[in-house]
Point group: C2
Chain length 337, copies 2
DNA sequence: CCGACACATGTGATCGCTAACATCTCGGTC
DNA sequence: GACCGAGATGTTAGCGATCACATGTGTCGG
């Protein structure tokens, strides 16, 4: 018995102290009706006195369900995915779920499949995949149909539960802002060609130009890094006709700012620049960057909501939700010289 | 039986197919000795054919142990903590552990205690706390002694298992670099006063100045944001005698760069600036920033190693490890004008 | 007054796995 | 030839919770 007192208290211990059966303790814990109030209070007092905590492994064994959500995300410190993940962990925590993140180095079918398998090993209640490109989206075809799954920033054409920032709307607004500032056209430095975010932003930029019959210049293709923005900026800086640039994220914009500076093209005097994401430092770029701010907290809440809907319903949906970003006007846009 | 085929295969199913007992299947899964090779192969074939996956809930119920590590971290997208967390999730995944992150909004005793409780509810194998300030470190006093625990970037004076970047060494090297570039002294824009990282960096900066009997100017206290760096920089920009600034992180440095620019103080011509963290964009600041780069992957590996040491040994240690950062020289340091 | 139903609580089996203990066989040594 | 120990495998119990079913009591309506 001495040895027995060393393990964590179980329901049987609570039951013994409260003078009821373990079933009654279970009823109290799970807020079942038809438990006499006096009994309920006695059980709660026993729980408190013993410092009892439910054993989730036992519960998971019986019910076949866990309070764990698996997330598949690329190993990255990119501001967008990092913000989204942090917001999702908070939202899930508030809903009583733990979040386990399965990192993948590259977004290919094999790596994502392996991460999903690890989550299935954990018997997660559902899976969220940050699936920003085509190969990531393809990998989801392997996921068993019955497993609750939501993709974030995934393929808008795929018929799976999806939550995404309205990239096109954000890009449309950024481009329109530049056009309304007086620019004849707007050049675009895009993110990776195969990322849906980047594709959505190209689409929004293009649509805004076409809406006013402005020239649609060729897209300057890049990745998400400031380095890529710098390279693109070096080229754009040499073209006197470039007076407005919409960069697909803030770090690209930073690289563009740097290249313009090196070339003596003043921002916003000679060239206006707009970014996307509104990283906290954007306000302190030289000059402070006008940018588009996605609502990561809202995306996280929608993602959790969509996932738990499937967990509760026990079936998949094809529901999808978009979250509108907002334009943050700072000092990197002006009328062309 | 039709209903029975709908559940996931269990060891009893594998046993039946392989013609052995469930205990023998358990022995094969756990690589016990004294299993005939022919039997082992038959069991493995049955596992493969059935697509059997061990039920971790059942195993956790029996052994009282899980393959889950809890992390307590503040809700933040700061590059340092974000990089560390991402690296840790990867390291843990490679070691066969899932990671569940408990986010706290503020680093106070109550929030951290609640996050630790949620992890204990999950019966995690151990806990890693990113405990960057005094209140976070204090909260760890409440953690039961038997629970494996490692703090990262925590209180260097506290006798608990700790892994940290060698902040002082990094700051020492950054400051020495500026002094060797010919500056009479180096001003410092610090992080939050109560963060151990920031304190360590102040100490390293101070020690480097004292090592050459240089003047030790008053610390310009800030937080981690570019906004705070900008404010500090506005003041430093007005002081002609300021020719060298060591900022406690890259975003502070960005703010300083911006303030200098506004005031016409050219970097590095008039003022040299060094940061800390080496965010990916640092190379594209104007000018590209000289900075100190911590090795987050190494910190993550050391943290996991220290934690698993406690899990295996079943007892706490007082071991601690520091990981040296390196100076990355770019273009924001020059001889004073 | 009796039967039915609702309320309140209890009993026992089971989920899937591990560990302790049991059983059988074979080979080596005395 | 007998005995002992090691190898190989099997049997049983139990971890802690939930669920299905059981039992007892009180109230209300016929």
């Amino acid at each position: 018995m001495d040895q027995k007192t060393q393990r964590d208290p179980a329901m049987t211990d609570v039951a013994r102290l409260a003078g009821v059966s373990h079933q009654t303790v279970s009823r109290v814990l799970n807020d079942h009706p038809n438990v006499r109030e006096q009994t309920r209070l006695r059980v709660r007092a026993a729980i408190k006195e013993l410092g009892y905590r439910p054993n989730r492994a036992a519960r998971a064994l019986v019910t076949g369900k866990t309070q764990l959500i698996g997330v598949v995300a690329q190993n990255s410190t990119l501001y967008g995915p990092a913000s989204l993940l942090s917001a999702f962990e908070e939202a899930a925590g508030e809903a009583g779920f733990a979040v386990s993140v399965g990192r993948v180095k590259v977004l290919d079918r094999e790596s994502i499949a392996a991460a999903v398998e690890r989550h299935r090993d954990q018997r997660v209640a559902g899976i969220v995949v940050i699936a920003p490109n085509a190969s990531a989206a393809d990998a989801l075809a392997d996921v068993p149909a019955g497993l609750p799954l939501v993709t974030v920033d995934g393929d808008p054409d795929r018929r799976t539960p999806l939550v995404t920032v309205d990239q096109a709307a954000g890009a449309y607004e950024a481009t329109t802002h530049l056009l309304e500032a007086g620019h004849q056209t707007v050049w675009h430095v895009s993110g990776p060609q195969d990322w849906f975010d980047a594709a959505g932003r190209v689409e929004g930029w293009r649509r805004a130009l076409e809406a006013v019959s402005a020239e649609v210049p060729p897209v300057v293709a890049a990745d998400w890094s400031a380095a890529a923005g710098y390279k693109a900026g070096q080229m754009l800086a040499r073209m006197p006709e470039v007076t407005a640039v919409f960069a697909s994220n803030d770090h690209l914009a930073l690289g563009v700012l740097r290249a313009m500076h090196e070339r003596g093209r003043r921002v916003p005097h000679d060239v206006s620049v707009v970014g996307f994401d509104d990283v906290p430092e954007a306000a302190y770029f030289i000059p402070p960057l006008t940018t588009v701010r996605p609502d990561f907290a809202a995306v996280a809440r929608e993602t959790l909501g969509l996932l738990l809907e499937q967990v509760v319903e026990g079936e998949s949906t094809t529901s999808r939700r978009t979250v509108a970003p907002v334009l943050v006007r700072r000092e990197s846009v002006a009328f062309p010289a």
